[in-house]
């Protein structure tokens, strides 16, 4: 069996923090197609290798035209991961258009000051929590909304791990900028290409997937929506 495990899955990465980006990277490791939506006005935050293998589009979802595009994208998606869902979008509306959508919202997403562990651990939790409705889909026939709270993830860990402080030794020959390997060995892991430039796949996603014309695309670009 050479085919990637989750190659049929389309995941939209609408996250700003590291936890959401790491959650979506795990989906990418398993072969899902991941489209990362970056804000057109700022460069992609965090560690660039977290976006390895993803496709990148630019999208200002806080503006009405941008929200329309995001809703259209969510119609095609299996999973949407966000830590900052724009107020003009909500699960009820998204799921009316696409009942199979799993919307994962990360609340209290760890900031850079909280350290990489907190963010990665929350991202791993978000990944498991997103897999469960996908497994359940066969029986339920529909998706659901999942909320994963960063502070609760760490609190849950504190009740299980003995000792508050853990020293972790430097890994041999590994730099900080290395792509973190998938934390498990499983058949169907996909090799990852380097992280895309923001907006590198605008044409492919907007015109190819959503069927926008070249004219519409340049109009949206001029208006800084994408």
């Amino acid at each position: 069996m050479t085919e990637a495990l989750l190659s049929e899955l389309l995941v939209i990465d609408l996250s700003r923090g590291v936890a959401g980006a790491y959650c979506c990277l795990l989906f990418r490791h398993l072969g899902a197609e991941v489209v990362r939506a970056d804000s057109p006005n700022q460069s992609s935050a965090g560690e660039p290798y977290l976006n390895a293998g993803k496709k990148s589009i630019t999208l200002d979802a806080s503006r009405p035209e941008g929200a329309v595009l995001l809703r259209r994208l969510a119609e095609h998606a299996d999973v949407l991961v966000t830590d900052d869902l724009p107020s003009n979008l909500e699960y009820a509306a998204l799921s009316r258009q696409n009942p199979r959508l799993v919307l994962t919202r990360i609340t209290n997403s760890p900031s850079n000051d909280d350290g990489r562990f907190s963010a990665y651990f929350t991202g791993l939790n978000a990944f498991v929590a997103t897999m469960l409705p996908l497994v359940k889909m066969a029986i339920l026939g529909r998706g659901q909304q999942v909320e994963v709270d960063g502070a609760e993830c760490l609190a849950a860990a504190a009740f299980v791990a003995d000792g508050r402080r853990t020293e972790v030794q430097r890994a041999e020959g590994e730099g900080d900028e290395a792509l973190p390997p998938a934390p498990f060995k499983i058949i169907g892991l996909a090799p990852l290409t380097p992280a895309p430039l923001p907006g590198e796949h605008n044409d492919e996603v907007y015109c190819g997937l959503l069927g926008l014309s070249g004219e519409e695309l340049s109009h949206l670009t001029e208006a800084s929506i994408i």
């Binding site: 498991v128 897999m131 999942v146 609190a155 498990f184 499983i186």
Partner: protein, 258 residues
């Protein structure tokens, strides 16, 4: 109204590490029927708070699967499970005859999650991270099984896992102070702590940090007393009362409790 996410699945927790117990607990929290197998058929050590945390939402049986008849019972139990989680080292796994191919002989589409390098009595941060990673891999394998009918062997290395989370340069990871958390007003407001009835009264336990809109998960069961569910588990195998009594006398299984 809707059943738990993993309500259709049965998981076997073979231990012996806390990483394995935590992985199995997460699947149990999500609704799988988890059977934890304790190899000590004679109850010895008192159960710590950490033990109770990582074994909630499970059924417990005592079975010495190092004995030939115990190994036979374990094979029959494996054939009734969708997922087996184990943390044996390579030597022990061979000695017990519990490598992937041997397990799969009991059930061809079995999913086996093996965690290398967890700890026994105490849980360290590696156990928590590796347990979560193993639960993730098991869910991915369940998704694949649902689509193809195929099982597989997934593996997690506890040390590598934590190291990759901290980054190449290493460092110190601090968790919140456990004893201060029950007073945390935000966690209280979010009902992060759930009451669960135990033999010694009602205890509060932290909930799963994942909230599902259609299939909410809760703390349903406290950690089992050793062998608490022997009658149910060995009943699944079709053993008669007389057979159970013989096995109990031979020390292959622990006491059959009422």
């Amino acid at each position: 109204m809707y059943r738990l996410p993993l309500a259709a699945y049965r998981v076997l927790d073979l231990g012996p590490t806390r990483a394995v117990a935590y992985a199995a607990r997460l699947l149990g929290d999500a609704g799988a029927e988890v059977i934890a197998v304790d190899r000590e058929t004679v109850m010895a050590t008192p159960r710590s708070s950490g033990y109770r945390q990582v074994n909630r939402n499970k059924l417990g049986c005592t079975l010495d699967f190092a004995t030939p008849s115990g190994a036979g019972l374990l094979r029959r139990l494996v054939s009734l499970c969708d997922v087996v989680i184990d943390g044996f080292d390579a030597t022990e796994r061979e000695q017990l005859g519990l490598n992937y191919d041997a397990l799969r002989a009991s059930r061809p589409d079995l999913i086996v999650a093996s965690i290398d390098g967890g700890h026994g009595r105490d849980s360290s941060l590696d156990d928590v991270v590796a347990g979560t990673a193993a639960a993730a891999a098991a869910c991915a394998a369940l998704l694949h099984h649902r689509d193809t009918g195929e099982g597989q062997h997934v593996e997690v290395d506890a040390r590598d896992c934590l190291r990759s989370f901290v980054g190449g340069s290493g460092g110190v990871v601090s968790l919140p102070a456990r004893e201060e958390l029950p007073a945390d007003s935000r966690l209280r407001e979010r009902r992060f702590f759930e009451p669960v009835s135990t033999m010694s009264g009602v205890e509060e336990m932290p909930a799963l940090p994942w909230r599902f809109s259609l299939t909410p998960c809760h703390v349903r069961l406290p950690a089992p007393e050793p062998g608490q569910h022997n009658r149910y588990v060995f009943g699944l195998l079709g053993l008669s009362e007389a057979e159970m009594a013989d096995l109990e006398r031979e020390g292959v299984i622990g006491a059959i409790l009422e």
